[in-house]
Amino acid sequence: MCHQTVSLVARHLEANGIPTVVAGCARDIVEHCGVPRFLFSDFPLGNSCGKPSDDESQRETVERALRVLESAVDGRTTVQSPLRWSDDPSWKRDFSRFDNLTPEELERRRTSFNDQKSVAKARAAEC
């Protein structure tokens, strides 16, 4: 939802005269929505500004986002960062994986998802 949310905000800012760049890790969600400028880092979600404890990676990522901001000539401009999360790409196989889960674990996750939804709803009602 994060990537969709900022994509929608970027579109609104842009439509009202403020140029934007999204720096993110979920390429399909951002491009499916459609944003003016997008720096894509092929990293696990949660690392849109570079690798943890890696000053150079963070500096390079923000600098690249600034370059996309100033150099794009039209909407739907995506630039993919050349930085790699790891030489081993197997981390990509684990996100939302369920083929290795037992029926009991699938049921537990269903219940847990419903519980978290209830918590979020209750908090929203309080706010």
């Binding site: 939802m1 905000v9 403020i18 499916h32 849109s48 690798k51 600034l66 990509k92 998802f113 908090r123």
Partner: protein, 184 residues
């Protein structure tokens, strides 16, 4: 075709190429089908994309930041590194804080990758420090005095009709010239 047949058909998974980006829309849809939710979410899609060129060089521009991270709330359960998904830590309205100090922002309310990253270094999801360096070197003119927090919600209408206009108003008040938006 019955619902069951649809579900069985829909979760046939083609193997991903490890060198391609993760297809989150497809993965998420398949995951929720597997745990029993068979009404796929309709992700936002637009054919047209607005585009506004920069009005002045970055070195003269004031940059605003939009984040989906949440301010740490000491009265709530664990929001620290590696914490399980914590829906209680979600926020539901746009917030703003000063960029004059480093905030304490957490992402426990977000479905980030908890297997391969631990959320220990805020700088990986909030770019204030690196923008401050860019400001100090003259790469950008300045950083807007407040950053904006955007609540994540499944309701696209809420985002487009309530949250995005509030962030626009905030940035107008702060004379923002361009914005860097960072999802998690």
């Amino acid at each position: 075709m019955t619902t069951t047949e649809i579900r069985q058909t829909s979760i046939v998974i083609m193997p991903d190429d490890d060198h391609d980006p993760i297809r989150y829309i497809e993965r998420t849809r398949n995951y929720y089908l597997a745990i029993g939710f068979d009404r796929p979410y309709q992700w936002a899609h637009y054919d047209d994309v607005p585009f506004t060129p920069l009005k002045k060089p970055l070195a003269d521009s004031r940059i605003g930041i939009v984040t989906t991270a949440a301010p740490f709330q000491p009265d709530l359960p664990d929001q620290g590194p590696g914490a399980a998904y914590n829906a209680a830590a979600k926020f539901h309205s746009v917030y703003s804080e000063t960029t004059g100090a480093q905030p304490d922002l957490r992402i426990s309310h977000i479905g980030y990758d908890r297997i391969h990253t631990t959320a220990e270094d805020m700088r990986t999801w909030f770019p204030l420090e690196k923008l401050q360096e860019a400001e100090a070197s003259g790469r950008i003119g300045s950083i807007a005095q407040r950053f904006a927090g955007a609540p994540t919600t499944r309701s696209q209408r809420h985002t487009t009709e309530i949250d995005a206009p509030e962030i626009l108003e905030l940035f107008k008040q702060d004379d923002v010239d361009a914005a860097l938006l960072v999802p998690n």
